[in-house]
C-alpha cells in the first residue's frame, strides 16, 4: 500500500516536473514571441497611429483588408518585394563560395587553424560595422571600389548612389559574413567525411569534380541543409545593412520588406502601425514557407531515431 502510493507520487512528479521546468521559458516565449505574432496579425486589419487616448484606450479603427489592398498597389512595396527576391537568390552564392573556401582551407599545414579563424572573422563582427566598412569601400571619389572601377572603365561608379546597382552593392556586403558562416559549416562537415569512402573512391579512380559531386557532397548534406536554412533566414532578415548603408535610398530603391515595414511603423513618414503590421505579415508568410520545410525535415529525422 505504502509502496503503491509512493509509486503514484513518483509518477505524479514525473508528469508535473516537465511543466515546472518549462514554465519560465514558456512564459517568456509566450509573452514576447507568440502573443506578439497574434497581435501583429490582428493589427494588420486596423488603422492605428500607435497612440492611446487619455483613458488609455486603443485608438485604432478596424479597416478589414484595406491595408492589404493598399499593399497591392503600393510601388514601394513592390520594389521591396523584388529586392527581397534578389537577396534570396544572390545570397545562395554563399553556398558554393563558402564550400570552395572550406575546401581550400581543409589542409593540415602549420598555422592553418589561425587562417581558418581569420577567414571566419567577418561573421563575428556586427552587421553595423560590416555596413560601415563597405560604405567606406564604396565611397565615391576615394573608396577602393570607386577607384577600381575608375581605373578599369575610366569612370568611377558610386554604387550606393545608383538606384539600379545599390541593392547588389548591399548584397555583396551581406555575402561577406554569410560566406564565412557557410565556410565554417562546411569545414566542420568536411572534418567528418568518412575517410575510408574517400580512399575507396580514390582507388576507383575518382578525383576532382567527380569526387566532390558523387562522394563528398552527399556526405555534406547535413551541413548543406543548415547552410541553406541560415542563408535564407539571413537574406530575409536583411535590415541592418540597408539601414546603415543607404536607409533604403536612393529614392527608396534599396528597400527590402523588413526595412520598409520599419519605415512605415516607426520612420519619419509617420506611425502607420497597421500598415506596417500588414507588411510584416507578408514577410512572416514568406518566412513560414521555409520554417515549415525546416520543421518538416526535423520531424522526419526525429521519427527515424
Amino acid at each position: 500500500m505504502a509502496q503503491a502510493s509512493q509509486a503514484a507520487r513518483r509518477w505524479n512528479q514525473r508528469t508535473i516536473a516537465p511543466w515546472l521546468f518549462l514554465a519560465p521559458g514558456l512564459f517568456m516565449f509566450g509573452v514576447y514571441v507568440l502573443w506578439p505574432i497574434i497581435q501583429s496579425v490582428t493589427l494588420s486589419f486596423y488603422d492605428w497611429n500607435g497612440l492611446y487616448n487619455q483613458d488609455g484606450e486603443f485608438t485604432g479603427t478596424f479597416v478589414g483588408t484595406r491595408n492589404y489592398a493598399e499593399l497591392m498597389t503600393d510601388p514601394a512595396f513592390e520594389t521591396s518585394l523584388w529586392n527581397n527576391l534578389k537577396w534570396l537568390v544572390l545570397y545562395m552564392l554563399a553556398l558554393p563560395i563558402g564550400l570552395f573556401i572550406a575546401i581550400f582551407l581543409n589542409q593540415t599545414v602549420t598555422g592553418i587553424r589561425l587562417y581558418k579563424s581569420l577567414f571566419f572573422f567577418p561573421f563575428v563582427i556586427s552587421q553595423v560595422v560590416v555596413g560601415l566598412i563597405f560604405a567606406w569601400f564604396y565611397a565615391p571619389n576615394f573608396g577602393l571600389f570607386y577607384l577600381l572601377t575608375e581605373s578599369l572603365t575610366g569612370k568611377g561608379t558610386a554604387i550606393l548612389a545608383d538606384p539600379d546597382l545599390v541593392t547588389y552593392g548591399i548584397i555583396v556586403a551581406g555575402l561577406w559574413p554569410q560566406i564565412a558562416y557557410v565556410m565554417i559549416l562546411y569545414l566542420t562537415g568536411l572534418n567528418n567525411v568518412a575517410p575510408d569512402q574517400i580512399e575507396a573512391a580514390r582507388l576507383d579512380g575518382a578525383k576532382g569534380w567527380r569526387m566532390l559531386w558523387y562522394v563528398v557532397l552527399p556526405q555534406l548534406r547535413p551541413a548543406t541543409f543548415i547552410a541553406v536554412i541560415v542563408t535564407v533566414i539571413g537574406a530575409l532578415r536583411s535590415f541592418d545593412l540597408v539601414s546603415i548603408m543607404t536607409t533604403g535610398g536612393p529614392f527608396g530603391s534599396s528597400r527590402v520588406l523588413s526595412y520598409y515595414m520599419f519605415e512605415m511603423a516607426l520612420g519619419e513618414f509617420g506611425f502607420r502601425m497597421g500598415y506596417g503590421a500588414a507588411i510584416a505579415v507578408v514577410l512572416f508568410a514568406i518566412m513560414m514557407i521555409f520554417i515549415s520545410g525546416f520543421i518538416w525535415k526535423m520531424w522526419r529525422d526525429e521519427k527515424e531515431r
Partner: protein
C-alpha cells in the same frame, strides 16, 4: 580526407599553396584591414586626399578623441548591461526547457519543441509593434532591462534547441539509475545533468554574447538615448554626426567589433560547436 592532403602533392604545388594562403587571406580581409588602417590615420592625411599612401604618422588620438569627445564608452557599457543579463537569463531558462524536452516523454513534447524552434526563425518585424508597445506600457522603454528581457525571451528559442539536443546525447542510463535510487527530478537536474552541461553552457554563452552585442534592430526599436543605447545603435547615430570623417567612423567600428572578436578568439572551439547547432556532428 578531401581534398587530397597538399603534402602528397609536388613541391611546386606545396609552395604555391603556401603563397596562396596569405594572399587569399589578405584579399578576404581587405576591407577590414583598410578600415583598421584608416582608424590610425591622422585627420590631416584624409583632408589632403592621402587615403591609401604612407600615413604621416600613427594617430592614436583618433581613439582618444572618440573616447573623450563622444559617448562611445557609455555605449559600450550599455551594451554590457544588456548583453550579460541576457546571456545569464537565456542560458538558465533554456537549461530547464532543454532538460524538460530531452528527458520527459509527455505528449505535447514535440509540439512545444517545434514551437521554440519555429519561433526562433520568425522575422523580427512581426514582433516589433506589439513588443515595443508592451515595453512602453510597462515603463521599460529606453532601459537596459526592457531590451534584455526581450532578448532573453527570444533567444530562449535557439538555446532550447541547442540544450535539448545536447542533453538528448547524454547517456540516459544516468537518469534512470538516479530514479531507481529515488532521487527527485529537481535533484537529477541539478546534481546529475547540470555538471555535464559545462561545454554546452560555454558554447551558448559565447554565441549569445555575440548575437546580442551585435544586435542593431532591437536596439533601435527599444532604446533611444545615450543612457541606454548599445554600441551598435550608438555607432549608427555617431555615424550620422561624423559625416565623412572616416578616421572617426573607422575607429568607432573597430572598437565596436573588438569585444565579440576577442570572445571568439578566446572561446573558438565552443563558438564553432554552437554555430553548427550540433547538426554537423
Amino acid at each position: 580526407m578531401f581534398p587530397r592532403p597538399i603534402q602528397k602533392s609536388s613541391t611546386a604545388a606545396q609552395w604555391l599553396y603556401a603563397v596562396a594562403l596569405p594572399i587569399a587571406l589578405l584579399v578576404w580581409l581587405f576591407p577590414l584591414l583598410g578600415v583598421a588602417l584608416t582608424s590610425l590615420r591622422p585627420a590631416s592625411d584624409l583632408a589632403q586626399g592621402n587615403y591609401f599612401g604612407m600615413p604621416s604618422g600613427i594617430a592614436w588620438e583618433n581613439y582618444i578623441f572618440i573616447f573623450t569627445e563622444t559617448p562611445i564608452g557609455q555605449y559600450m557599457i550599455n551594451s554590457l548591461w544588456v548583453t550579460i543579463p541576457t546571456v545569464i537569463g537565456a542560458v538558465s531558462l533554456s537549461l530547464m526547457t532543454g532538460f524538460a524536452l530531452a528527458v520527459y516523454g509527455f505528449r505535447a513534447n514535440i509540439l512545444v519543441f517545434f514551437m521554440f524552434v519555429a519561433g526562433n526563425f520568425v522575422p523580427f518585424q512581426i514582433l516589433m509593434v506589439p513588443v515595443r508597445d508592451m515595453t512602453l506600457q510597462l515603463g521599460m522603454y529606453d532601459t537596459w532591462y526592457g531590451l534584455a528581457l526581450f532578448h532573453i525571451a527570444f533567444n530562449t528559442g535557439f538555446c532550447t534547441l541547442f540544450m535539448r539536443n545536447f542533453i538528448k546525447a547524454l547517456p540516459y542510463e544516468l537518469i534512470e539509475a538516479a530514479r531507481v535510487e529515488g532521487v527527485t527530478e529537481w535533484r537529477i537536474f541539478w546534481y546529475i545533468v547540470l555538471p555535464l552541461m559545462r561545454p554546452a553552457i560555454a558554447a551558448l554563452s559565447v554565441l549569445v554574447f555575440t548575437f546580442i552585442w551585435n544586435d542593431f534592430f532591437w536596439a533601435t526599436v527599444l532604446t533611444q538615448g545615450v543612457d541606454s543605447q548599445p554600441i551598435t545603435a550608438g555607432l549608427s547615430s555617431l555615424n550620422g554626426q561624423w559625416i565623412a570623417q572616416w578616421h572617426l567612423v573607422s575607429a568607432g567600428s573597430i572598437l565596436a567589433a573588438l569585444p565579440p572578436v576577442a570572445m571568439f578568439f578566446l572561446m573558438q572551439k565552443h563558438f564553432i560547436a554552437g554555430l553548427t547547432l550540433g547538426a554537423v556532428k
